[in-house]
Symmetry: C3
Subunit: 387 residues, 3 copies
């Protein structure tokens, strides 16, 4: 049986296929378990946002072509992965004042399960000597719409592959292209992302990429744990240092609590593969991120255990760098240099763990990685790692 392909969106020839539903009957002879729909939302802050909903087997993934191909939410059966941001997105970029002089306008659109931070920069906003914003918080990529979205479905297995292209370009400045491929299949208890960031320019370019993977309830609750194969860790600041001994467990929603952030160097297998697990022991469910430390050497853990109404959430954040101001990261060698035309690939998979057995296996895999060496925990922020 053939794989069937659709171009959903292509600005180069003004193709736009939505609204659209693709079901097994659209592929001759297919009895696979999948469904794809493309819808444009209407009203409120979501007005004009395209949502591409991919279902394959028990997994559903809502992708956001209008927001840099971010992953709005995902589901495994009845379980929703993501968080309940007070922002209530998805938010159209036209309502996100990225260039707010404070550099914090990005927060007006922050709502996704997985949001990419980059591509020219990510991390805390940075200003020039006159106090003018140079690098806004977490960069542009999440608030740029895709210029091309393609879809292919394997009629036999029901595996759905979505490819999206998002350009982050300012004339005379960066010319970076993200090409992302998201694979959702019945065999996979989750989904896989293969990204490629290309320097379209004939000049060298610096790039940064961080996957801000955000989980709230049900994965996150009082007593949830994060399990990481830690080589070395530093709290980001003094406030994080005060929570050092409990860094890997979560309190319940705590009104007035401030975020705590930890920066990690993780162990990996000889190929660079590593794994980060978030588990809710009560419910015996969890999720792992799989990625490669050669591509994404820096891992940040963001614990934001505020009240549910304020956004009770944790971020597991593999990145090319730590989310410090870009010039700090540059000074410490954590900006990826791309030669003219050069590209760099990044892999990230999200695996859902639906039961105790899956959690045990995930813990075992991380324990094996941890065997590479005892964790070195710094009691106070390490200069250089932190800004």
């Amino acid at each position: 049986m053939v794989t069937k392909r659709w171009t959903l969106l292509d600005t180069s020839d003004d193709t736009y296929a939505g609204p659209l539903d693709i079901v097994p009957a659209d592929i001759e002879g297919s009895t696979a378990d999948f469904r794809v729909s493309l819808r444009t939302l209407r009203g409120g802050l979501r007005d004009g946002v395209d949502v591409l909903l991919v279902e394959s087997g028990e997994v559903r993934v809502a992708l956001l072509p209008t927001r840099g191909m971010g992953v709005w939410k995902a589901w495994h059966g009845e379980v929703e992965l993501g968080w309940r941001s007070p922002v209530r997105g998805p938010v159209h970029p036209k309502f996100v004042p990225l260039r707010d002089p404070s550099g914090l306008g990005w927060l007006d659109g922050f709502d996704e399960l997985i949001v990419r931070c980059g591509l020219e920069s990510n991390g805390a906003p940075e200003f020039d000597e006159a106090g003018r914003l140079v690098y806004p918080l977490h960069g542009r990529i999440a608030n740029l719409p895709a210029r091309r979205v393609e879809l292919s479905v394997d009629g036999e297995s029901g595996e759905v592959t979505v490819t999206g292209v998002v350009d982050e370009v300012r004339f005379l400045f960066q010319k970076l292209r993200l090409t992302t491929t998201v694979v959702v299949s019945p065999e996979r208890c989750g989904f896989a992302i293969e990204d490629r960031v290309e320097n379209l320019s004939a000049d060298p370019a610096g790039m940064q990429l961080l996957y801000h993977c955000n989980f709230g309830p049900p994965l996150l609750s009082d007593g949830s744990q994060v399990v990481l194969p830690v080589a070395e860790m530093t709290p980001r600041d003094d406030h994080a240092a005060t929570g050092l001994t409990a860094w890997d467990t979560y309190a319940g929603p705590s009104p007035g609590e401030s975020e705590q952030v930890y920066f990690f160097d993780l162990h990996a297998d000889p190929d660079g593969h590593t794994q980060a697990l978030l588990e809710n022991n009560e419910a015996a469910i969890g999720a792992s991120l799989h990625f490669n430390t050669r591509q994404l050497p820096c891992f940040s853990l963001w614990k934001n255990t505020q009240a549910v109404v304020d956004g009770y959430v944790t971020g597991l954040e593999p990145g090319t760098n730590y989310p410090n101001p870009r010039s700090h990261e540059d000074a410490h060698g954590r900006v990826v240099e791309l030669a003219p035309g050069e590209s760099r690939g990044f892999s990230l998979a999200l695996e859902f763990h639906p039961d105790e057995a899956a959690l045990v296996a995930a813990r075992a895999a991380i324990a094996k990685l941890q065997a590479g060496g005892k964790p070195q925990i710094h009691p106070a922020p390490v200069p250089g790692w932190t800004a």
Copy 2:
């Protein structure tokens, strides 16, 4: 006869009902005199703006779900209330650079009869020590789209009630919700607004709200008068002080004229109810605002008698505060503190006076309030009241 309800817009389940016309025939047996329509405007700065037009009896009100549920214009019979802004709105928020470093981007969208200023802040823009914008002029709420709009119509009386919900939220910052209810009925020579502002957060929050109610011709012309039950008044600045003796009358359109602003403490009845009247003696028509000084203790009068092409307009502005920079108002106790989950209600009614008899009654009502004490007029700006 039943009251019939419609959900026009609800982002929580992606309901969007427009374009829509609701007429008496839509309610079985109704012979009431009403009509409701929802349209999305196309082209120019208004591209994408939803307008909800409510007619009941002689009153028509154009509401703007896309602009924070503001009141674009209202009509009583043939008389249009509102003003002719050089901006020519309604302007979609995507064309309003609220975060312009000058803090004045709000002016690009300023066009309504009633525009709310708030919710975290209103008034003059404020900057941090580095010169970076912190609070833009008049805040965010007027440039945020409603997340829910509901409608109910009493098939017997023809009374139309519109409820809208607008969230002003930035992750890690304010989480304020406006729920507004606008009632238009044949019995009422105008319309009534019941607003509620809720702190959605588990943290305390400060809020400000000012109703910028703007009138141009025909209510405003050479010789128009504003009638207020004044307890105390201060000019905002020296320029306003120069016009002090004529503060309650209006000149005709005067090219090159600059705005004059006066701040008031108004008398009210024992329940806090007060009234502000604008009348055009020539035409023997006018309009009153009814509100409560316990909710809205600060009243500002904005006289902008520029040429018609530049916006010949006056603003009658009941508020929780005076439109000074927020930190000034905070220092003088004019920021409303909301506990976690707390909400505060605000009532505002606009009554049209179609004839001399109605004006006489309005004047009499205000005279009765004025009997509470002679006005104290400060000849120069009073520190504390003004910034």
Copy 3:
């Protein structure tokens, strides 16, 4: 045979005619060679952009009502005029952060063959003493949507005339109106623009206008030449001065090259008419701009011979001023003062030269203008002309 008229867009009565195709059959008895279409683009940065495509004889012109009636691209037969910006527009203004504190947000939407820079200001961004943006790069007009677009077609000749109205207005600040008329006809090997800028205000206003006319391949290539009737010229800066001797020829795409800009005073005929020619000697094709130095006394030449992927392009830029910061231009008398209600007209025609004979004629015309006096070339930036 009559001329037939259509209103394509008029916000004053909420007319919007698109999508639309107008062909000879729409005019009774017409056998002329024309076609007009109006489309709204969907997806990517172009989402929501209206494109008005006008074809008449061998000429096609794509106008952008959503972007200030700019000329996106033009074609003569198979030859495309314009350039390949890395931005890949046309970009909807909602994706252009004009008020980026850097003042450079305009670059995110820079893609057109002809983009107007103005109307209150153009040129390099300017900041106040606190470092806050006052005048963003190249002003607002190219990122403001038309409020009215009208079309007329002469059924006999096939001449198509488009009129567009774009307001650049901020309450309390500028109230400027651009009314542009674009004529495309089979007899004309190109198209003509008649612009009028009106001060809608009762107060005086300053205005600036520069036509940023941008050409890439095929007109621009290694060895292309610009031919100008130079009275006087200064390099903008030291970098431009280094290229002085070759100012009128172009290198091929050169990775890493920086822009070089030259400012000119051009000779004109007794009526003020002058001409600027860009020619590709290899292909024996070229294009001329025709304009009037009484209206547009300042001419800038922008040579940006970067790599093709970065935007290999040259700009021929007749203007009321040089693109220095506005206050510099004001200090040197290069801001047009408009009295209340006053308007000023500007003419610009683009003529395509399809063959050697046409190029010879164009060169001859410019040579005749040059006979007015030898060029005075300043070896270094002239203070006053440059900032």
